[in-house]
């Protein structure tokens, strides 16, 4: 298992790093689907209806407007913001079992952040500076809070789906070397 060449050894560890990051992303995607269903039921109809689409949450655009860095840096930043958002969701959830599920999910997300950072270091990228937390907490009524929760989970779902593809692409690129 131990190779003589430094480069092939680091390539192998990169590959296994990417592989496990990819697996983690798929796992979180799966976990999120379950939590999302329970959470939307907790919010009550119409949030759990099929084609429900409320006006976009005010802070949604902030995530779209992230700087265009390397894919990994983008992922890193997105998940930092999303992790903070899900933590806030968990904190304000009244249903104890749902709260526990969300907090458990946050642990997974935190792990993903760690994986991405480790991967970036392995590949020689500089880690993005930990940005000032977008601490704009406007006072919101409960309905607006529900809408935000809806969009956070929706956004998280699309990021995980996109990340899985990113990591898969990265995996193939590394294998080609």
């Amino acid at each position: 298992m131990v190779t003589a060449m430094d480069s092939s050894h680091s390539l192998a560890s990169e590959r296994s790093s990417i592989e496990s990051t990819y697996e983690l992303t798929k796992y979180l995607e799966y976990q999120l689907k379950e939590i999302k269903d329970v959470y939307l039921t907790y919010l009550g109809p119409p949030f759990n209806e099929k084609d429900f689409s409320p006006p976009a949450a005010t802070r949604l655009e902030l995530w779209h407007g992230l700087e265009n860095q390397a894919r990994l840096a983008q992922n890193q930043k997105a998940y930092s913001v999303l992790l903070a958002a899900v933590r806030e969701l968990a904190r304000s959830t009244l249903c104890p079992s749902l709260k526990t599920s969300l907090l458990h999910f946050c642990t997974g997300l935190d792990g993903l952040l760690g994986s991405i950072s480790a991967l970036m270091t392995t590949l020689g990228y500089t880690l993005p500076p930990s940005s000032a937390n977008m601490r704009m907490r406007p006072t919101m009524n409960d309905f607006a809070r529900k809408v935000e929760g809806f969009w956070i989970l929706r956004e998280l779902q699309s990021w995980l789906w996109r990340s899985a593809k990113d990591f898969n692409r990265l995996k193939k690129r590394l294998r080609a070397h």
Binding site: T41, P46, P55, L94, S131, F143
Partner: protein
């Protein structure tokens, strides 16, 4: 600092750009009693270019009848809800204002419930005379629709400072709390539950107890039921005392119950004392029985008071030996070798008894044999067994 300002500049225009309210719903986050009435309004932003007559309302996804609407102005539609029912979910009912094609323009969360009633059925138990767990039920149905906080409080009866329990369970046992330590023994505690929500509060009746009176344990472990040699009407039950009793503070008394496999009637054996084995007798031969054991801690510092019975152990099954064919007339099937060794053994026992009690074999008859059987039963009875009527 510079990067923070840059970030702020990046963020602010975005926030401004998207914070145009599509519609404003009033009031927000209302807490109301069941049966009350609410009037809400949906006011459109002028940029929308929509007219209020195109709007409609839904409550938890169900469309509200337009007979309850009122067009207050060209850009404001109101709805009046009468006789509100308790909220469908704790996160609040969703009252939503829609535009044409169902577009969601805005919403308001509504919390409908009742002030709490006195919590009831407060029951407490201790696992090891060091902790206390209590459970209760909400006093009324209305309070379960909205977020109601329950606080378990306790104090020593003769001392005024009250304490609060802080470990509430979140799982299946919803209305319960656990006090893990710092509880005094041999002295009464007063315990109660306070319920509060946005509509009011209520306090349960006070329960007074001494920790030592409410001690309970897990059921006895390793319950084993087996035959007593070939005796067809007996089974022996053995078990281990639950680990909590290893504390020298407690002894235990046990209770056994047993029933026929296809019966629902349990027979209870009460005077088992503190042994960990017992022989059941007077049972039907060749029958399957289910047996359970439970225990109760007693004898704390000589106190004769009992605690709370544990749950019954999982049922253990065993069967009594099938009746030997020799005691029946006219049967045919039997394994000859087995038959003979049992017969021989029993004959040996019988002759031994005859020599001792019947002064020799002169009065030999089947009556003597029957007498011996009865004697056998009686002597087993004195060895701590249970008699039962057939």
């Amino acid at each position: 600092m510079l990067s923070f300002i840059c970030l702020l500049i990046l963020l602010v225009p975005h926030a401004l750009f998207t914070s145009t309210h599509v519609a404003v719903i009033y009031p927000q986050d209302q807490v109301l009693r069941i049966g009350s009435t609410l009037m809400a309004t949906c006011t459109l932003s002028p940029e929308l270019g929509l007219h209020a007559n195109k709007l409609y309302w839904t409550m938890n996804g169900m469309r509200l009848s337009s007979s309850t609407y009122d067009m207050v102005s060209p850009d404001t539609l109101s709805v009046t809800l009468h006789h509100l029912n308790g909220s469908q979910q704790k996160s609040g009912d969703n009252l939503v204002c829609h535009g044409a094609d169902g577009l969601v323009l805005g919403g308001s969360c509504l919390y409908v419930g009742m002030p709490p009633e006195k919590p009831v059925n407060l029951t407490c138990w201790s696992r090891n005379a060091k902790d206390l767990s209590c459970k209760w039920s909400p006093g009324g149905p209305g309070e379960t629709h909205i977020r109601t906080k329950y606080t378990l409080k306790y104090k020593l009866r003769w001392y005024s400072r009250e304490k609060e329990c802080d470990t509430y369970s979140s799982g299946k046992q919803r209305y319960s709390c656990h006090i893990p330590r710092n509880l005094a023994l041999f002295t009464p505690y007063e315990i109660w539950v306070e319920a509060t929500n946005e509509l009011g509060s209520a306090t349960s009746d006070i329960t007074t107890l001494d920790i030592l009176d409410v001690v309970t344990t897990d059921p006895p472990a390793n319950v084993q039921v087996g035959r007593v040699g070939d005796l067809e009407d007996q089974l022996t039950v053995r078990w281990a005392s639950p680990p909590e009793l290893r504390d020298i503070l407690f002894q235990a008394k046990y209770q056994i119950r047993y029933r026929l496999e296809d019966s629902t009637e349990w027979k209870v054996v009460d005077d088992v004392g503190n042994q960990t084995s017992c022989r059941l007798a007077g049972l039907q031969p060749g029958t399957v029985y289910f047996v359970q054991v439970r225990c109760n801690p007693v004898g704390i510092y000589g106190s004769r008071k009992a605690g709370i019975w544990s749950n019954w152990s999982h049922p253990t099954a065993a069967s009594t030996p099938t009746p030997s064919e020799r005691l029946q007339s006219g049967s045919c099937e039997s394994k000859p070798s087995e038959h003979n060794s049992t017969l021989r053994r029993e004959l040996k026992q019988f002759f031994g008894w005859v020599r001792k009690h019947a002064y020799g074999c002169s009065g030999m008859s089947i009556k003597l044999y029957d007498q011996w059987r009865v004697w056998l039963q009686k002597s087993h009875r004195t060895r701590n067994q249970v008699d039962s009527t057939r």
